[in-house]
Symmetry: C2
Subunit: 273 residues, 2 copies
């Protein structure tokens, strides 16, 4: 059974709370970690955020996000790289060991997967030097293939591993059960990442039966069909001993009181991980 | 530019039409092929269906569907195999060279991908003898990973190829652009299938920006982000010289007049394939 002191909450899970409210709610629930999102940190201010988190005794376990290199097209390349660098600066300032890195989907107006992948890879490579200088690992997250149009043309752990092989030091993997559970090669790729010492983050949520929205209808671990326990076990066997991060994009949960949601998360994780 | 005499319509595209209405509409649009669904054939009667299709000069280019072996659980195994055999009989009676084979999702109440895959594979292997005897190829369709919970734990062409390798003669691949476009290994797997002589079917549709439903919001080729032309070209280069089948699950299109939908399909295919 998972120790709740090793559960961290990705702030998107309580998207309607400010940083201050989120930190208070997580601490009240007996949790010790937070992976903040940039918009929330900017709303509160960086120095204030850092103080709020430290005062509550929480650890910054990750930061969201860097990347989306393709979203503004070829012309927007430098803008996106600069944005990624600023996000890396914030992650470093908050003491986060890594930053969740989502490479971006197809280029606007283009149907070429190959072009998008080449473009995103080069931009990521260009961003890496700054991440290394800041001591923040770029934790590449393979997103579910249904997000390939808009968010990530890296859709499998195999791909993310291949990119890390080519990029080298300073890159790692963010393994999210929602994105990879369907892939029978996931366990082998997690083991491969473990051997390379690049397992940076573990995210869990659940795939609900009759999912209503591609983006905002994830479930609490235990509510759906994902074998989160198996994935957590595979990560452990591969040498990962970090936090278990609960990251749930859900309009349904956002509409509920955060204290209740956190209670259900802790219960779900305890029962199924 | 594609010759419309080589475009065939999967009957789900005009789901609100009876077999008779669909055949009339396809023929009126100048099309020559149909891939019928079993429920529509049963409504019209098998012998009547065969006569209707032949009288209109259409070719039966495929048949839907066999499989879904996991859907009734362990206890329902034989029921599902028997269903698949009956579907194969109908495909043979209609003169279809192949039957679209969808292996099924997770077993009810189970979170084990491995169990579902083992169960589905064994049931598929057991079904194969009958398909061989009938001369109907089991065209295994890798479905998009978002359908893994309910419909298919075979989610990539690589997997489908691996299963065909293990199953041998009488199996093939149904390559559907909607399911595989996101996968950078798809072209290599199509080439692999071509070398093995197992490219049985090619389905096209499109992934719409802001897709609203996981199941029923596909687009006409050209409306979305899929590089259908590239996939068609890859299939040709791999030796596939069969029909280009338009298969669109769309509540939006079902609500429109079928003649208009067929006109837009022919236009979309002509413009983008």
């Amino acid at each position: 059974m998972i120790d709740k002191k090793r559960i961290t909450i990705n702030q998107i899970t309580t998207n309607n709370l400010s940083l201050q409210q989120a930190v208070a709610a997580y601490a009240k629930a007996g949790l010790r970690g937070i992976t903040p999102w940039r918009d929330k940190i900017e709303q509160a201010g960086l120095a204030t955020s850092k103080a709020i988190i430290a005062d509550a005794g929480l650890t910054v376990t990750g930061f969201c996000i860097a990347g989306l290199f393709t979203q503004k097209g070829v012309e927007g390349r430098q803008v996106q790289i600069d944005e990624a660098r600023r996000a890396i600066d914030m992650a470093a300032a908050l003491g986060s060991p890594s930053i969740v890195t989502v490479v971006g989907g197809l280029l606007p107006g283009s149907r070429s997967l190959a072009d998008a992948r080449g473009f995103a890879f080069d931009a990521l490579a260009e961003t890496l030097a700054h991440a290394r200088a800041c001591g923040v690992t770029l934790a590449i997250e393979a997103l579910h293939p249904m997000y390939a149009p808009d968010w990530s043309v890296v859709a499998t752990l195999r791909d993310a591993n291949d990119w890390c092989d080519r990029l080298g030091e300073g890159t790692g993997l963010a393994v999210d059960s929602y994105h990879v559970w369907w892939d029978p090669t996931a366990a082998a790729e997690i083991a491969r990442a473990g051997r390379a010492g690049r397992l940076s983050a573990l995210h869990v949520s659940d795939w609900l039966p009759d999912t209503r929205s591609l983006l905002l209808d994830r479930g609490i671990p235990g509510e759906g069909v994902i074998d989160n326990r198996g994935i957590v076990q595979t990560m452990k066997e591969a040498g990962f001993d970090g936090w278990t991060e609960v990251e749930i994009f859900s309009e349904r949960l956002w509409a509920e009181p955060a204290d209740d949601v956190l209670r259900r998360i802790i219960h779900g994780c305890s029962a199924t991980l």
